[in-house]
């Protein structure tokens, strides 16, 4: 086999390992997939009546459902990458990583396995959430191409956030830290157009909301699924995703290669 073939084979083995972990650690997997659904119900049935009224539509609640689905799709991403960070930290703080490092395997395959495993988990989570949303009466104007583009944008952004979570997991000294740091992503999401329009926010916050990555991604996905205006949000969403992915990837690889190199015993 060539080097590339070994890299692919090792990454596939690591992916399978990570998918097995997700099944063997069901409490976490179910929590990460289930939480966005619970939040969807909460936002639509508890907050939806009042928040929908603010959208100026007649059928407040159902208008808000249409508005908020992209926000919940992003919750799916943010909560899944919290799992990525935890799993990476579990690997790094356990003994198995040293075994991998003393074997002639493609070095990056450990991380690649985590990234691909999380991406698959997110795609499944997105699928389930969209199914539930349709069950609640979500109206989409999207044709197959729009759907494809929306999933593509989400997958690209997910890829960026997963690498960021991998880096956070590598940087964390303990599994607890690794489970806390990605919470910042949830906070950023709440400070975006995911749940309410940024126009309704006070000045400084509104500016912050408009210039952070979650807003263009939410607006692009919303535009693709419900026909709302996208404007230059798509470009911004793609640029943010690629930018975060590159920086996070380089940071993660650096942490991974340096890790334990200077650690006595």
């Amino acid at each position: 086999m060539t080097t590339l073939a070994y890299t692919l084979s090792d990454s596939r083995v690591m992916l399978r390992r990570n998918l097995k972990h997700q099944l063997r650690y069901p409490s976490m997997t179910v929590m990460l997939v289930g939480m966005p659904i619970v939040l969807l119900l909460l936002f639509v049935y508890v907050f939806g009546g009042q928040l929908g009224a603010g959208l100026g539509a007649h059928e407040g609640r159902s208008a808000y459902l249409d508005y908020v689905v992209p926000g919940l799709l992003l919750i799916t991403l943010a909560s899944a990458v919290q799992g990525t960070s935890i799993m990476v930290a579990m690997d790094m703080t356990g003994g198995i990583i040293d075994r991998f490092r003393t074997m002639a395997i493609a070095r990056a395959s450990v991380l690649t396995g985590h990234v691909l495993g999380s991406l698959m988990q997110i795609l499944v989570g997105i699928g389930i959430l969209i199914g539930v949303a349709f069950g609640l009466g979500f109206h989409s104007t999207a044709g197959p191409l729009h759907w494809f583009a929306a999933i593509g944008i989400l997958a690209l952004f997910a890829f960026a956030l997963i690498w960021l979570a991998v880096a956070l997991g590598l940087a964390a000294k303990s599994v607890e830290t690794a489970s806390n740091t990605p919470m910042i992503l949830l906070l950023l999401l709440f400070l975006s157009s995911g749940f309410v329009r940024t126009q309704t926010m006070p000045g400084g916050l509104r500016q912050f909301a408009e210039y952070q990555p979650f807003t263009p991604v939410a607006d692009t996905v919303r535009g693709l699924l419900t026909g709302a205006a996208i404007g230059d949000h798509a470009t911004a969403a793609i640029a943010w995703s690629i930018g975060i992915a590159i920086v996070a990837y380089l940071w993660a690889i650096r942490l991974y290669n340096r890790r334990r190199a200077a650690e006595p015993k």
């Binding site: 086999m1 070994y6 084979s9 090792d10 083995v13 390992r17 097995k20 972990h21 063997r24 650690y25 356990g94 003994g95 198995i96 040293d98 075994r99 991998f100 490092r101 003393t102 074997m103 002639a104 395997i105 334990r260 190199a261 200077a262 650690e263 006595p264 015993k265």
Partner: protein, 328 residues
């Protein structure tokens, strides 16, 4: 010490490593002939684990030359990794998988192919007495089972050189004996092993050669017998009832070292029955009364304590009170 041919076994020359200001390894050289076991013996913090981590490509040395089975550790780490197996101090197993899955994971990463991998996994489960637990999650494994699985995982790729970092720490006596048996079998198939241990008995039992590491330096190296012969430890301690008897005995045995406070005379001697009988007869003829005696033979404890800078303490193997011989 480094006369081993560079193509086989393990050779390390002048390996240095510091963590910050702390010099952990100070020009450590060692050599392990192919198909033999070298025990790297040393107290806590001596640098044993660091040495293993460096040789197994986990961390870089600051300087030094190292070859594993002919492959340079610095310039050809992947060549080294393909040949070695490492069982560290902390269990390197995947807790969310079953025993069999752990072994198959190793087989896949060694690119054995699906069928060969499954066969090898089954073989090792059998060999390590884990067949019944093969499909159980590791959370149900005992400490001894995890250690066995850990070593089995190391052996999946049939490594020619194996590093065992304190492989029996925390094991009960039975599991330790099982582990020793496994290690002996491995060596009999020509595998080269570098073993670290704090357990002198383990080094004595398993090792062809022993290198004693203390505060980052090799302070002694040789076969267990060579090391023991280097320490003049064998002696008989004679205990007396009073200073008069001690004085008479000391007069009789000029080579002995008297201790006036404890009323003890330390006589250099091996522990054969003949030399002991001769000594007692001589004392008996001179009518010197010995209250009791103890015999001390050199063991690795003496060597260890002597070369790692602590004092050799008289640790009697047996305390004898020869009432019939010394009293009338």
């Amino acid at each position: 010490m480094t006369s081993v041919s560079a193509a086989t076994g393990i050779v390390a020359q002048d390996v240095c490593k510091s963590f910050g200001d702390h010099l952990v390894l100070d020009k450590v050289s060692l050599a392990v002939e192919e198909g033999t076991i070298l025990a790297l013996l040393g107290p806590n913090g001596a640098g044993k684990t660091t040495m293993v981590r460096i040789l197994s490509t986990l961390i870089p040395a600051d300087s030094g030359f190292m070859r594993i089975a002919g492959h340079d550790v610095v310039t050809d780490p992947d060549g080294v990794r393909a040949l070695i197996g490492v069982t560290g101090q902390f269990s390197a197993v995947d807790n969310l998988l079953t025993g069999a899955e752990n072994l198959r994971l190793m087989a896949d990463l060694r690119h054995l192919g699906r069928d060969a991998g499954r066969r090898r996994a089954a073989e090792l489960l059998e060999q390590f007495d884990l067949t019944d637990a093969a499909d159980k999650l590791l959370s149900t494994y005992s400490g001894g089972m995890r250690r066995r699985l850990d070593l089995a995982m190391t052996l999946v790729g049939e490594p020619r050189v194996i590093f065992l970092d304190e492989p029996t720490t925390g094991l009960d006596p039975r599991s330790r004996l099982t582990m020793w048996e496994i290690v002996r079998e491995l060596v009999s198939t020509g595998v080269t092993i570098l073993l670290t241990t704090q357990n002198l008995d383990e080094a004595d039992q398993l090792a062809d050669r022993i290198a004693v590491l203390d505060r980052g330096r090799i302070v002694a190296e040789g076969t267990p017998a060579e090391l023991k012969s280097r320490i003049p430890g064998g002696h008989v301690r004679l205990h007396f009832a009073g200073p008069d008897m001690l004085r008479s005995a000391a007069g009789l045995l000029p080579a002995a070292a008297p201790d006036q406070d404890q009323l003890v005379l330390q006589v250099p001697a091996d522990s054969t029955v003949d030399s002991l009988r001769e000594l007692l007869d001589e004392l008996h003829r001179a009518r010197v009364e010995v209250e009791r005696l103890s015999i001390h033979t050199t063991d690795l404890d003496d060597v260890f304590l002597a070369v790692t800078g602590s004092h050799v303490t008289g640790r009697p193997d047996k305390d004898l009170t020869p009432q019939g011989a010394a009293k009338r």
